[in-house]
């Protein structure tokens, strides 16, 4: 199934919640509204025409202060139909809340925890949303553009990172 067909099915089912579609080769994506993401995810997983039974990857993107935008990207693949699609959800840089799809795809469990760990994106409804890689008492979210390293961690000094200017 092509991305266009997947998009058409989603639009006929959810209408306004499907915000944007791009069919640029190798980077086809559909942007959906975060409010309806959970039912959309369930539909993508269960519908007989789609059967997206595999969540290949889930990651976050920070576009920086200027754009004031963050993004969660879901890379979906159907084992039985051999088609794939990228779903994107956009939101603000602070207090970005996305419905958790951990109960739809079990793989999302650790992916969502990692994304929370690095970007501070809250996945609402996750059963165990705590940091995956960094220690629980770490301050800040390292992959955000304006991240600043904390000065001390349990009395150990963390040297400040001074980025070199590249011309």
């Amino acid at each position: 199934m092509t991305s266009q067909e997947i998009y058409d099915i989603l639009v006929s089912q959810f209408g306004d919640s499907i915000l944007e579609f791009s069919d640029e080769p190798l980077a086809e994506y559909i942007i959906v509204d975060s409010k309806d993401w959970y039912p959309i995810a369930q539909f993508l997983h269960d519908d007989e025409r789609l059967v997206f039974d595999s969540l290949m990857n889930l990651s976050g993107v920070d576009f920086g202060k200027k754009a004031d935008q963050m993004e969660v990207v879901y890379n979906l693949f159907s084992m039985s139909h051999r088609h794939k699609i990228n779903i994107k959800i956009q939101g603000p840089r602070e207090d970005f809340v996305v419905p958790s799809v951990e109960s739809v795809w079990r793989m999302a469990d650790w992916f969502e925890r990692e994304t929370f760990d690095m970007y501070g994106i809250i996945f609402e409804g996750h059963r165990n949303l705590k940091r995956l890689l960094l220690p629980d008492d770490w301050e800040g979210f390292p992959l955000k553009k304006d991240y600043e390293v904390q000065e001390y961690y349990h009395g150990i000094r963390v040297p400040k990172v001074k980025p070199k200017k590249l011309n």
Binding site: L134, P135, W138, P142, Y147, V149, Y153, H154, I156, R157, V158, P159, V161, K162
Partner: protein, 163 residues
């Protein structure tokens, strides 16, 4: 031993207790395997048949309570740094630390941008020998161990005041 020499029968040896203790300790530095990254592969190689750590009396131990030397081999993250400290505290005295590779010594390639990497294991535990390299070859680790042995031999256990 000056005037005491040749005063007794042949089967009596006169010497300093410190030297005896130093000799005994330096020839059985059982090490606590602390393989954290790729340096651990070189440490395993140094312990295996070709480079053979055993000929120095160095035996790998998996418990800090049985070990004399901790070989910190690899990148120490902040999270791990606290554990390194805790395990070092569990080792019985006398205890020594070898910092193997540039990561454990100074953060290595993570020196500038690794926000989560401890910039040198000497920030949490006292280090006796630093072995440079990324990762150091087994020969380098062997030399580090031999340097440590020299250090242990020179240590004075009973005499507290410098002569």
């Amino acid at each position: 031993m000056g005037f005491l020499e040749h005063k007794f029968n042949d089967n009596i040896i006169v010497g300093q207790v410190d030297k005896l203790i130093g000799w005994a300790r330096s020839n059985s530095p059982w090490y606590f395997q602390f393989g954290l990254a790729c340096c651990a592969i070189e440490m395993m190689s140094a312990a295996a048949a070709r480079y053979d750590f055993d000929r120095f009396g160095a035996m790998p131990r998996s418990s800090p309570r049985q070990a004399d030397v901790m070989i910190v081999a690899g990148t120490v993250t902040m999270k791990m740094g606290l554990r390194v400290r805790k395990l070092w505290e569990q080792m019985a005295d006398p205890k020594y630390v070898i910092s193997m590779g540039s990561c454990a010594t100074a953060g290595g390639p993570y020196w500038q941008h690794g926000y989560h990497v401890l910039k040198g294991v000497d920030l949490v535990v006292p280090v006796d020998v630093y072995v440079p390299g990324c990762p150091p070859r087994p020969e380098a680790l062997l030399e580090g161990l031999m340097k440590l042995q020299e250090k242990i031999k020179k240590q004075k256990t009973l005499v507290k005041i410098d002569e």
